[in-house]
């Protein structure tokens, strides 16, 4: 079980209260009509699935019902940080060596 820090409730809660929603920071294309089928498919279906740091979106489903982002290591499962929607991660791939 994870203990997840909700950046909106400002405390740690049990994983049971949350749902993972998938990769974070995916922007909807501004003009979908202009995209090729391949580009659109990439937006809809293609995800990173990295071995290492992953920025992902979670929702505090039974609590404040807010979506937020998390930086998590997919091998160790260590949660590096959680941060609000609209914010950028402070732990990134470039800083991966420090995170180990």
């Amino acid at each position: 079980m994870f203990e997840i820090y909700c950046p909106y409730c400002e405390e740690h809660r049990e994983e049971e209260e949350f749902h993972p929603v998938g990769e974070a920071h995916i922007q909807r294309p501004v003009d979908p009509e202009a995209l090729s089928d391949e580009e659109w498919a990439h937006y809809l279906f293609y995800r990173k699935n990295p071995r290492g740091l992953h920025h992902e979106m979670w929702v505090h489903a039974t609590g404040c019902r807010k979506f937020f982002n998390m930086t998590r290591h997919t091998v160790t499962y260590q949660i590096m940080e959680t941060y609000k929607m609209g914010e950028q991660p402070s732990v990134t791939e470039g800083a991966k060596d420090d995170a180990k």
Binding site: E10, E17, T62, C64, R65
Partner: protein, 201 residues
Amino acid sequence: MSNVITPESPLFHADFAKLAEVTKSLDAGVELEEKAFLGHLNLRGNASDEAFTSGVEKALGVALPTAPCTSAQSDAVTILWLSPDEWLIIVDGGKEHETEAALRANLTGHFAVSDVSGGQTIVRLAGSDSINVLKKSMGYDTHIDNFPVGKVIGTAFSKTSCHMLRTAETEFLMVVRRSFADYMWLWLQQASKEYGLKVIA
């Protein structure tokens, strides 16, 4: 056709009046009561907007609790923080329309007030063993340092979810969805069996 509609609370079928009669002389560790037919208003708005917070305070006579997991209370109204831009306002049954009107009169711009009274109910859990029942039901730390009086949390309660307000050291109000009220009632009966359960009508 009759125009009189008799409202039924979500736990109407459990017949708390009868159970209260049966359990009234019981030396029980857990006390259970349904706070039925209260007025529930869901309020949404921007907490950092001065006009919004002061408008709410003017309408309700209580300052909006803007810090996470806090609540505010007066004789007439209880406000629970649900999320950074969402609150639950609980008033006496029958007062919800005038409270909603007062909010609408004092607020402008981007806000929402919805009457959700029919969609949920409140279960009051009290007694010396109420904490033991909660420990079986959820993962949240119920210690008074972590969960002080006046704090409100939204959490997973057994297999459902509820918003829980601690009103005294051994007293909790649980806001539960109408459709899950029966599940919670069955769960609480079973969980409090070993401590003895007294029903308050």
